[in-house]
């Protein structure tokens, strides 16, 4: 990314972007908004609007679940991973399933803000902020599991390269070490990206804030942003560069996660289709989660002006598309088992369709492949309620997919003498539900204390749309 875009290009990009988009009809921003109106309406949510009862209830509920998480972690440290249902041969259970699931969810945010930025999709502006926040929180939840699932978590730092008196290093050939690097890189870069995006809005909040405390808080975080023209210039370049860096990163992360399985020789894991199909799955689950959050939010905070049917429509299309890719992944798995004529792979496929966990497998096919098909109908794509429902179903489906991949493959691998089943225990469930609590607790705090929509980008949107009208 050392090619430096001139402002002219930037202008043009936004011009044509706005052209094409608007010509497609549905606006990305309800008409009639001014710089002032968007600024005030969004910052009000954080600064002046009284906290709604709904918010309090939501936070309380999530907090309860968060406490469940604490309990299960405490008990885990106390007794050991044996409190879970894992066994030989199924040595990985919910922990890894949840890890992959959360990481997958964590993909939409960066994808929206990075790839869609590069693709100059201006409809991303109103959803990218909380999508990125969602990414961070999801990655935080995901990050818990690799730690917790270790037999001796207090030695987690042995997975990092650091000078030690044992003269030992991590074993860099292991996909788990790749994970450590991939996930931590992803977390830190997403955090940077998100924070950089926040700076101008923090400035806005600083200037809108009335209480001294708020002024100092937001002021400190805003780093003294004052909207200088030169700053804006570098700022945009930086955003573009980060976007350019995040795009391969976001693809790499879930690729590496898929290596956890693809590198192993377990039948049902050891296939080359995994990286693309994991990434697609990640985007699918990510967008599903964005939808799950966006639809209630716009209704709760009356953001219909900013998150318009147009956005829902586009996200629905992305879901439909990725669902098809994932479906292709499933089909290829089956095809390769048959075509590769590997008895073990064939056994895995057969086991998935007819074996002990077949209900889960059928359910995931229904959730991830069948359900999204109704998104072909634009009427469905227009109905927030239906979309919300579909998003939920897809979330479940993607979890099931990971469950199937992890558990069925392990429960029956090569030698019949060591086959076994996996039965989750109370603690498996508690830990899983607990992270959901962690996620929503943090998310509620986010929507309360930070602008969930990028204010300055909305102002840009106002500017462009008005310019466009001027040009008519």
């Amino acid at each position: 990314m050392d090619h430096e875009p001139t402002n002219q290009e930037l202008i043009d990009s936004h011009r044509e972007a706005s052209h094409t988009e608007v010509s497609r009809g549905a606006p990305v921003l309800k008409a009639g908004h001014t710089f002032g109106s968007v600024t005030d309406q969004i910052s009000a949510i954080v600064l002046s609007r009284p906290t709604s009862r709904g918010w309090w209830l939501g936070l309380a509920a999530s907090f309860v679940l968060l406490m469940v998480l604490n309990m299960s972690i405490a008990y885990l440290l106390l007794r050991g991973v044996g409190i879970w249902g894992i066994s030989m041969p199924v040595a990985w259970g919910f922990a890894i399933v949840n890890f992959v699931w959360w990481i997958g969810i964590g993909h939409a945010g960066t994808l929206i803000s990075a790839i869609l930025l590069l693709l100059r999709q201006d409809w991303r502006t109103s959803i990218n902020r909380f999508a990125e926040a969602m990414t961070l929180l999801a990655v935080a939840c995901a990050g818990l599991f690799p730690l917790l699932h270790m037999g001796r978590p207090w030695f987690f730092y042995w997975l990092m390269p650091y000078p030690n008196t044992m003269a030992l290093w991590p074993q860099f050939r292991s996909p788990l070490v790749w994970d450590v690097f991939a996930v931590s890189t992803y977390a830190s870069v997403s955090l940077l990206f998100w924070y950089i995006g926040l700076i101008p809005d923090l400035g806005t909040l600083r200037d809108r804030a009335t209480s001294r405390a708020a002024q100092v808080l937001y002021g400190a975080l805003a780093l003294g942003w004052r909207g200088s023209a030169m700053h804006w210039h570098r700022y945009r370049v930086a955003s573009l560069l980060l976007a350019g860096l995040c795009t391969p990163l976001v693809v790499s992360v879930h690729t590496v996660v898929s290596f956890d399985f693809a590198v192993a020789i377990v039948p049902g894991w050891h296939t080359t289709i995994f990286p693309p199909y994991f990434v697609a799955g990640a985007i699918l689950s990510g967008f599903a989660m964005v939808m799950t959050l966006a639809i209630p939010l716009r209704w709760l905070y009356g953001l219909q002006d900013f998150i318009t049917p147009r956005h829902l429509n586009n996200m629905a299309k992305v879901i439909l598309c990725t669902a098809m890719i994932v479906g292709y992944g499933y089909i290829m798995e089956i095809f390769l088992a048959w075509y590769g004529n590997n008895p073990y792979d064939q056994a895995v496929v057969a086991n998935r369709f007819t074996g002990a966990y077949r209900e889960a497998y059928w359910a995931l096919l229904f959730c991830n492949i069948i359900t999204p098909q109704i998104l072909w109908f634009s009427r469905v794509r227009q109905s927030p309620k239906l979309l919300f429902l579909i998003a939920l179903i897809v979330n479940v489906g993607m979890w099931l997919e990971r469950f199937i991949i992890v558990v069925t493959s392990l429960s029956q691998d090569y030698i019949p003498g060591n086959w076994g089943m996996y039965y989750p225990t109370f603690w498996d469930w508690a830990t899983f539900i607990g992270t959901v609590g962690l996620f929503f607790t943090l998310f509620f705090l986010f929507v309360r204390f930070l602008p969930m929509i990028a204010i300055y980008e909305m102002r840009e949107l106002v500017h462009e749309t008005s310019e466009h009208h001027a040009n008519d």
Partner: protein
Amino acid sequence: MAQIFHPNTNAISRASIFGALFAVVIAGWLLDSFNRSDYWTEVGVPRAQPVPFSHAHHVGDIGLDCRYCHASVETSAFAGMPATEVCLGCHSQLFNKAAILEPVRASLREQKPLQWNRVHHLKEFAYFNHSIHVAKGVGCSTCHGPVNEMPLMWKQNSLSMQWCLQCHRHPENYVRPKEAVFDMDWQPPADQAEQGRRLVELYHIAKLEPAGAAPQEPRKSASASKAAAAKSSPDDYFEEEQQTGAAPVVKFRDPLTNCSVCHR
């Protein structure tokens, strides 16, 4: 709009960003060096003993041989601690009234063993065998330091894995002639590197022994050992060679660094 911050917050805030990164590094460095510090490893910290036994006196002044007390050092993993009767072998005659030796006499009288405080403590998952080290020309003082100058015993080296590896990776820097193993005053000669390499060859240290030859004389591929002499780190541990025609093979030597040597 009123200023929220005082002018010199600028300096502070800028410092804080890079300061934070710096602080992390410093903290890590501190932890590491603490972990290696003598305070933590107790290197050079004399241990109090029920009887203030002085190696300096018995070894340094009188010149007792290590094996007089540590009898099983050549045959067993454990160097051995002298039974009370060994002490009294002399001290029934010498200083047989001395107050400080009362615990020893009491031990024999009451048939209660003495309880010495351990100075060199290895974790239970690390297995160390004295006999083989002694047999291959690793001197007492190489690990235990100038015992003949220690009034009360202390640890000369940290016994950390890294410390073990120094020698296990480059024995030639440490080995001495077998006859000098128990010599407390032995100092490495000027050409230790050369001598060492010779001894490594001589004592068959750290060479895999190719199977098949008659058990009596040690089996050892001369070529491999010559190569070893020539090579320098990292090739001490392996050499990669393309065999014409055949599949490429990585030859490697030195079982000294494989895990089960110390951990089972």
